[in-house]
């Protein structure tokens, strides 16, 4: 059976994390975990000012 788009995306994410698998159960867990993470990411603000640098900005200590 051909994987659906969510499964294909999950497989790609697994590969990017270094997990090579043909385990359908793990792919299904990846789909669920990614959806849960996306729910929070979708609530990120879209209008942060360009001058607002990250909280963990690089620091030089001469």
């Amino acid at each position: 059976m051909m994987p659906g788009p969510k499964d294909a995306e999950a497989l790609a994410l697994l590969l990017r994390a270094g997990i090579e698998t043909a385990d359908h159960a793990l792919v299904a867990r990846m789909v669920i975990a990614a959806e849960a993470m996306r729910a929070g990411l979708d609530r990120q603000p879209r209008d942060l000012p360009a001058g607002l640098e990250p909280a963990s900005a690089f620091v030089v200590r001469p």
Binding site: G40, P54, A55
Partner: protein, 473 residues
Amino acid sequence: MPDTAIATDPARLGLAEAAALIARRSLSPVELVRAVLDRIARRDAALHAHITVLAEPAMAAARAAEAEIMASGPRGPLHGIPYGLKDNYDTAGLRTTVASRARWDHVPATDATLHARLQAAGGILIGKHNTWEYGTGLGDLQDDLPVPAPRNAWNPDYYTAGSSNGTGVAVAAGFCALGLGSDTGGSVRMPAAVHGLHGLKPTYGRLSRVGILPNAYTLDVAGPLTRRARDAALAMNVLAGHDPLDPTSLTAPVPDHAAGIEAGVAGLTIGVLRRFHERDFAADPEVMAAFEGAVAVFRALGARLVEIDLPDSVQSYRDCMRPISAAEALSIHGADVREKFPLMGRALQDKFLGAAAVTGAEYVTAQRWRRQMAATTDAAIRSCDAVLMPCAMTRVPRWSEGEARFREFMMASATCVLNVSGHPAASICAGFDSAGLPLSLQLVAPYLGEPTLLRVAHAFEEATGFWRRLPAE
């Protein structure tokens, strides 16, 4: 503490009481450590607080401490005091497992800085504490690890909450007078909360994290779990200080955290923050009653109470924090994910799976959002000497209530707010619910305001006496 407590069981003493008795030579470190080890032998088979117990080395260290104290007095208040470490602290020559099959045989070559500081102060390491795998989690059951989950010292039928869970059990059960944990989103304060302890998450960068298995570089903070604020103050005097090996370590001078602890709260401004438990969550009525009780205590003690507010919900702080925590963890532990994934428990695997869905841009956005949230949080907190806010907003669940309820318990907490902002925060015991389990509140202070935070907590603890209540045998 009356001497009857020593006669019955010195392991029930808090750090400050034990230190005072040791200084008077009324209590020997040998008696104290033997009592602690006896309690572990009697009770830990049911509570699972430890992964490793160091009985013989601890007794040898106690005998050496006793000899030195008898000859020349104690080095300081921590000399001869039994302490334990969450099993994510490196201990040279002793395995550090983080409760994981993936690191079960890991034996570090060096000591974590905080462990080394306690050793130099004469502390006696009793054991390494059980933890959520890799010291992280969202509340999942984690029942597929090589060690059983720690059981609540107040009642083993109840949940233990947060990744420093073994440390919370150990301090409450009298297995040590001081436990060190780590806190990425609440993992010192939540286990302290469910055990009626004082759990201190200091200012980000105040305590070294060198030798503690990292979870998220920009969120992780080490912290002590003790019976009360006075104990934490004595511990902070030894633990705090710049560590050149930790790039986030602050260089600010270390004050005497215990010097002003008796000064009371009269004249101090204490902010009262209600939005988290009144608008963001429907807090349990017993939690809300405990909150109002604490407000009344501080008012009676002479504090000036002011209502404060924040623009963001707890959920927003959590949304900000989660991709940071997840992406940093995947970066840190990428090699383990690639090579040892099948050895990990399901909850840790799921964390890394979720982390893989975070893009680089989303991580950076989270860190930019965080800077904005930290600024608004700081603006509210810096206008006060301390701020009172909720910790756990629902009652401690029973194990039988199941995983969904555990996650709800962890989500209905306000601890992550202070990891996002970096402010010092302590969970304190606010009384007991109708099932006899502890209720909790959080006290927060401006950056590096630990001495004032401990002073305020101490005033509350002395006024209420909740800290004196111990789990039944």
